[in-house]
């Protein structure tokens, strides 16, 4: 879409003629200048409010502070790794529950999945942290696991259901039992197709580890806050944001790009052609309707 628009007509625009082309060129130049102007103004504001003074940037030269930041980053990644593994496990269990042949099991799994998806993650994290009085890391991991596990359960379930019907019919016809059909036929095909959706959900988990800041878990933002509130360096808040956000956003972008890369590779793979899995479903149980697909927080 993005590349094609310039040379091709879309539902909205016809192929531009020479005059329109010139007009578009003018728009492009003007808007680029405008953006550059805004960026320049922002930079000017930064200078004007003395954000680039030496005192505000010296803290980043100290080994202790670099270590503090690295430790924060390490804690962020640790929380992410633990909750990613645990939510994959929980997601598998819940998905198995939702696909079960026994009605009570199905009901319980559905209830759990829908409840945890409808609750704000932060409410769960605070509940575990305040009511159960645990350490910040377990509280954060529990909250993230419950939420992402439930969303992943839905991804797994829709992935399994998206495998062509003939596949499991054929497997049953060969005399396989349900477990065999699952492990030998459905899961291998579904996992390949689901991989992009799973990775994009992991991006959500990575982003949400920053919620640990709110329950005083010593993660990346927390380290930044410690530096930013240091009077010796003239409260270097903006420098801290300028250092932290590219790293944080960069990590999430890398993971997102990995998801798109995998998705693009999958598209060419004949093994996954039979299956097409929607991205992780956000939102909550819609009364009387199928939950919609789309990106999430």
């Amino acid at each position: 879409m993005t590349a094609a628009t310039a040379h091709d007509s879309t539902a909205l625009y016809d192929i531009p003629g020479p005059r329109t082309h010139r007009r578009h060129l003018i728009y492009g130049v003007v808007s680029t200048l405008l953006i550059l102007g805004i960026v320049g103004w922002l930079v000017y504001l930064l200078f004007d409010t003395d954000q680039f003074t030496a005192t505000k940037w010296t803290p980043f030269e100290y080994k202790g502070i670099q270590e503090l930041l690295l430790r924060g980053l390490g804690n962020t990644l640790k929380a992410f790794a633990i909750s990613a593994v645990l939510s994959l496990a929980l997601g598998t269990i819940l998905a198995v529950g939702r696909l079960s042949d026994h009605r009570p099991v199905r009901w319980i799994a559905t209830l759990l999945v829908e409840f945890f998806r409808a609750m704000p993650v932060l409410v769960m994290i605070f509940f575990v942290f305040v009511a159960l009085k645990v350490q910040p890391l377990p509280a954060l991991v529990t909250g993230l696991t419950l939420y992402n596990g439930s969303v992943l359960a839905e991804v797994f379930r829709s992935g399994i259901n998206a495998v062509e019907r003939g596949q499991h019919e054929a497997a049953y016809a060969l005399g396989m039992r349900k477990t065999q059909v699952m492990t030998h036929v459905l899961v291998p095909q579904a996992v390949r197709a689901m991989l992009p959706a799973i990775i994009s959900q992991l991006v959500v988990a990575l982003k949400d580890t920053s919620l640990g800041y709110l329950i005083t878990y010593e993660e990346f933002l927390h380290a930044g806050k410690l530096i930013a509130s240091n009077l010796d360096y003239d409260l270097p808040f903006i420098p801290v944001v300028l250092v932290i956000s590219p790293i944080y956003i960069g990590m999430c972008m890398l993971l997102s790009w990995f998801a798109t890369y995998v998705a693009r590779r999958q598209k060419r793979n004949p093994k996954t052609e039979a299956v097409d899995v929607a991205p992780a479903e956000p939102g909550t149980l819609l009364p009387g309707g199928a939950p919609p697909a789309g990106p999430n927080s």
Binding site: T10, H24, G28, S210, G288
Partner: protein
């Protein structure tokens, strides 16, 4: 159980705070999302670049970081507004990136032939947009926009942790008053359920009335 009846006004205040935050941030997100979506499908390259950059950056920004930067950072530039306005800004901008993607994919579902047919009938750009493309895009866009607004309502809990009056924030007051923490959270959870279910009910009605028959 008496946590709710004793503190009805505290809960009510928090609940209304969340609703207020959700409504204002939704309006901002829808407006910005629409603007950015129109940038992303524009025939001018630099508009598309702006839209793409907006979406890519905001979608990969942790919301807590955004709150952190907006609530504590903007005052350093001499921009001092009430925390509530900052919270609406952060939530609205963040969600606008997701709304933009939903709208864009909605516009992309409209087949090219529809626009070509409209143009060959002599319709100008405004007519094509308002009579042909947008009505069709609107139908397929209802469910994803709805789920994004639900996500927004859930994300508004983060504002509470940054001392904006909001439902989750009520736990602090009640905790200090010595009420049972478990029950406090049960009522908070119920409040969020009411809000999210209300949004999904609204979008269900919209979907029933205008959605694509599948």
């Amino acid at each position: 159980m008496n946590v709710l009846t004793d503190n009805f006004s505290t809960y009510g205040e928090g609940f209304l705070g969340t609703v207020e935050l959700t409504v204002y941030a939704s309006l901002l997100a829808l407006a910005l999302g629409f603007l950015m979506a129109s940038f992303r499908v524009a025939p001018v390259g630099s508009f598309r670049a702006i839209g793409t950059a907006w979406v890519t950056v905001l979608r990969n920004t942790p919301l807590t970081l955004l709150f952190f930067a907006v609530l504590l950072g903007l005052p350093r530039f001499g921009l001092v507004l009430p925390f509530k306005v900052f919270a609406v800004l952060a939530l609205g901008c963040y969600t606008s990136a997701f709304i933009c993607e939903a709208l864009r994919s909605g516009i992309n579902t409209v087949p090219k032939g529809q626009g070509e047919a409209a143009r060959s009938l002599g319709m100008n750009f405004g007519q094509t947009l308002s009579n042909v493309v947008l009505p069709q895009a609107f139908r397929s866009v209802i469910p994803p926009v709805g789920s994004n607004l639900i996500a927004l309502a859930k994300n508004s809990a983060i504002a509470g942790a940054f001392s904006v009056t909001e439902l989750l924030g009520t736990y602090k007051t009640l905790n200090e008053l010595g009420y049972s923490i478990i029950w406090t959270f049960v009522w908070i959870a119920l409040g969020y359920l009411i809000i999210t279910l209300a949004i999904s009910a609204i979008f269900n009605i919209l979907e029933k009335r205008w959605g694509v028959a599948r």
